[in-house]
Chain length 421, copies 2
C-alpha cells in the first residue's frame, strides 16, 4: 500500500471539493469582469530573486525554493504581486491607463498547515495600475465586497476595515517618533488583534515614549470611526484622503460594509495611502482579504514610478467562513438526460440523440454496457437524471421514443426529430 | 533594470494571451461536462516517489524535483495520471462505477523549450475508471473529438489514429519475438514518424529477424485501414476489440475523424488494449493528444486492479494548430456600458446605476477622475463600449439620462428606473 503518498498541506480536490472551489472562483471572476477588469496569469515558477526585491521576511522564510537542472535559483510563487510588477514593467509605457487587471493564481507557501492556512491556496488578485488615490481604490474595494455578496455574505457577516498609511506615518512623525520606531509601532498595532492586551502594552512600553507621546498614541488608538477622525484637531493629507474615500464609499452605496480602523496598517512595508483588511464580523478568523495602495512598488521591479492599488483574497479563510455559515452549495451531479436502450439495435440512434443533445449544451449519459432496462433505469435514478429517454419501445412502429420526467414521473411520446435537427 | 527576471520556458499570460488559453480551456470543460464527466484537481506538488512508480524514463529525467524545508523529496507534477491513481486508490471501493472524471491541470517539465514544448502547460485529462473495453473508450475518444470540433477544427484538420496494444503484443508474440524485443520494436515503430525511413530500417535490422519474422513485420506495417485488418488471416482478441471499437465509432458518428494506424503503440509501458494519438492532418507537428486503456496501472498506486482508460491533451501543440488555422479569436475587451457624468454631482447616481447594471451581469466602466465629457466619450470609444449613458444633461429637469448606442450612434432618453429597480 502506498496510501501515504500525499504531501502534507497539499489539497486533493475530489469533485465535491472542487465544485466548492469553483463556486468561489466563479463568483470572483464574474464580479471582476462586471467591473471591467481583464484577467491575466503568470507562471507558478518564478526566479528566487523576484521575491528578494520586496516580499516581506515572513514570505521569504516560507518560500518553496529550489535549484533547477540548469542551475537556476527558482521559487514557487507565494503571492502574485511580484509577478504582476514584473509583467507590468514590460508594458507600462504603451498600455492605456488605468490598467485594470485581475487574476486567480494558485500560490504555495511552506508554512504550518492550520485553520485558515494551507501550503497551497488560490488567491483573488484585483489591481488598478496608473490611477491616483480616489475612486479607483473605492472600485477595487467594491469588487471585494460584491464578490463576497455574490457568495451570499452580507454586511452583517463581514466588514472592510480601512485606514491610510500616510495618515498614520505623518501622525507618528508629528509625535516626534523616528521612522525606525514607527515601523516597530506598525508591527505592534498590526499584531494587536492576535495577542492579548498586556503583550501589546508591554511592547509599547519598550518604545520608551514620553508622556506627550503616550497621550498622542492613546488619542490615535481612540479613533473608532470616521466621525472621531473628523473631530480630531490634528490633520494631514492622509486624513483628508481617508475622509474622501469614505465619502466615495457612501456615494457607491458601500459604506454599510466599511468602517475606519486605525489598527489596520498592513504588515508589508510597501503600502502607501489607503489600506484595508476584510474580516468576518465575529473576528474569530484571520483576515479574508488584505490590500491597499502601493505607489512606489512597481518601479522596484524595473518599471517607472506609477501609482497602483489592489488586494489579495485567499480561498482558505473565505471557504471556512462560507462553510460555517452554510453558504457552500451541496454537491450533486447534474444529468439532464439519461438515455436507455431496450436492445443494442437502438445504440446507433441513442448515440446520435446523445450527440445532438450535447451539442445543445445538455449533459447526457447512458450506460456503456447493454444492461437490463431496469438496471439502466436504476442508474438513471442514482445519478439524479432529470429526464430519461427510452429507445426501442416502439410497439406501434411509429418511430417514437418515450421521454420520462423523473421528478413528476410523467411520460411523453416524442419523435426522434424532437431531438435531432 | 530587472527585466531579465522571467524564467526560461515559463509563460506570462497577458490578457490577450490568457483569453486564448481560456478559449481552449472553456471548450475542453464544456465538452467533458456535456458527457457527464465530473471535474477534479490535485496538487501541483506531489512526492517524488509518486513518479517513480510508473512514469516513463523521459518524464523522470524531466522532473522539476526538490527537497522542501521539512526534508521531503517533492516534485512538480509533470502529468496528472499518478495523481489520479493516488486519489482513486482512496475512494475506489465506495465510489459508484464507472467513475468519470476530468481535469485541466497545469503541469511542468524541465525540457528544452521548442515548438510544441514549453516547460509549463495545461493538459486536458479525461478518464473512465471501472469500465471494461468498449463504449467507454469510444466515449472518451468522442470527448477528445468534440472538444476539438468545439474549437472549430473538422475531420479535414485532424485525425485520431487508433491501434490496440493487445493486438500488437500478441502479433509480435506470434512472430516468435521475446517480450524484450517487442518493447524495442514498440519504441522503433513509435519513433518512426520522427526519424527518416533508413533510421527505422537500420533499427529493425539490429533486431536480427529471420525471413519469416521480417515478412510478418512487413505484413503488420502494411495494414493501413480497418479493411486491411479484417482481411488479415491472423486473428487475436486485440484485433477483435479493434474491429469492435471501430464499429462503435461508426455508430457514434465519429468514424470520419478516426483511422486505424498500426504504428501507434504509445511510448509508455503501462498501456493495454485500445491506444490512440490525435494528429494534425498535415502531420508537421507533434501529437495533439494521446491516450488509451491502462487496466493494470491503478493497482500499482495502492489501489485494487480496476480497468481504466483516458487521454491527455496539452494546450501548446493545440494552440499552435489553432493559431495556424486562424481559429484563435482576436482579443478585445467587452464593455457593455460606459457611464459618463457631466458634473461630479452626478457621481452618486452614476455609481448606483453602475452597480445595478453589474448586478444584472453587464460589464460597466466609467472614468475615475472628473474629466471633460469629451475625454470621457473618447475613453468610451477607446475601450470599445457598446453603449454610453450620460448623466447630468437633464435640461428639462425630467430626471432622465441619455443612452447612446455607439455602433448606430442612436440616442435615447431613459429614466433612471430603466436601470435601477
Amino acid at each position: 500500500m502506498k496510501s501515504d503518498l500525499s504531501v502534507r498541506g497539499m489539497r486533493d480536490y475530489y469533485p465535491d471539493v472542487y465544485s466548492r472551489l469553483q463556486h468561489i472562483i466563479n463568483a470572483w471572476r464574474k464580479t471582476a469582469l462586471c467591473y471591467g477588469f481583464e484577467e491575466f496569469e503568470g507562471p507558478v515558477i518564478e526566479s528566487l530573486d523576484l521575491y528578494k526585491i520586496k516580499s516581506g521576511d515572513e514570505i521569504i522564510r516560507q518560500l518553496y525554493n529550489f535549484t533547477d537542472k540548469g542551475g537556476r535559483e527558482l521559487a514557487l510563487r507565494p503571492e502574485l504581486t511580484p509577478t504582476l510588477a514584473r509583467m507590468i514593467a514590460k508594458v507600462q509605457s504603451e498600455a492605456p491607463k488605468p490598467i485594470k487587471w485581475f487574476s486567480i493564481p494558485r500560490c504555495m507557501r511552506y508554512e504550518k498547515p492550520q485553520k485558515g492556512r494551507l501550503r497551497e491556496f488560490f488567491q483573488f488578485n484585483v489591481d488598478i495600475i496608473g490611477e491616483e488615490e480616489g475612486l479607483g481604490d473605492v472600485e477595487v474595494i467594491s469588487v471585494a465586497i460584491d464578490s463576497l455578496v455574490a457568495l451570499g455574505l452580507t454586511e452583517r457577516d463581514f466588514v472592510v476595515k480601512i485606514n491610510n498609511r500616510d495618515f498614520v506615518s505623518e501622525y507618528f512623525k508629528s509625535m516626534g517618533v523616528s521612522e525606525d520606531i514607527s515601523l516597530r509601532l506598525y508591527k505592534i498595532i498590526d499584531n494587536a488583534r492576535k495577542v492579548d492586551e498586556q503583550t501589546t502594552r508591554d511592547a509599547i512600553d519598550e518604545l520608551n515614549f514620553n508622556q506627550a507621546q503616550k497621550k498622542a498614541l492613546d488619542d490615535y488608538l481612540a479613533i473608532k470611526n470616521i466621525q472621531d477622525l473628523k473631530s480630531l484637531s490634528y490633520t494631514n493629507d492622509g486624513k483628508e484622503a481617508l475622509i474622501y474615500i469614505f465619502s466615495l464609499l457612501e456615494a457607491a452605496g458601500m459604506d454599510d460594509f466599511c468602517s475606519l480602523d486605525v489598527a489596520v496598517v498592513r504588515g508589508l512595508d510597501y503600502y502607501t495611502g489607503t489600506v484595508y483588511e476584510i474580516y468576518d464580523r465575529s473576528e474569530r478568523m484571520r483576515a479574508i482579504c488584505g490590500g491597499g495602495r502601493y505607489n512606489h512598488l512597481l518601479k522596484e521591479f524595473g518599471g517607472i514610478e506609477i501609482p497602483a492599488c489592489g488586494f489579495g483574497m485567499g480561498d482558505v479563510v473565505l471557504g471556512e467562513v462560507l462553510a460555517e455559515k452554510g453558504l457552500l452549495p451541496a454537491y450533486s451531479r447534474q444529468i439532464d438526460y439519461f438515455l436507455v436502450r431496450i436492445t443494442e439495435e437502438e445504440l446507433g440512434t441513442l448515440l446520435k440523440v446523445a450527440h445532438s443533445l450535447r451539442q445543445k449544451g445538455f449533459i447526457v449519459e447512458h450506460t456503456y454496457r447493454p444492461l437490463a432496462v431496469k438496471k439502466q433505469m436504476a442508474r438513471a435514478s442514482k445519478v439524479g437524471a432529470n429526464k430519461v429517454v427510452i429507445f426501442g419501445a416502439d410497439e406501434l412502429g411509429d418511430g417514437k421514443v418515450t421521454e420520462k420526467d423523473m421528478l413528476t414521473g410523467k411520460e411523453l411520446k416524442k419523435a426522434l426529430t424532437d431531438y435531432i435537427q
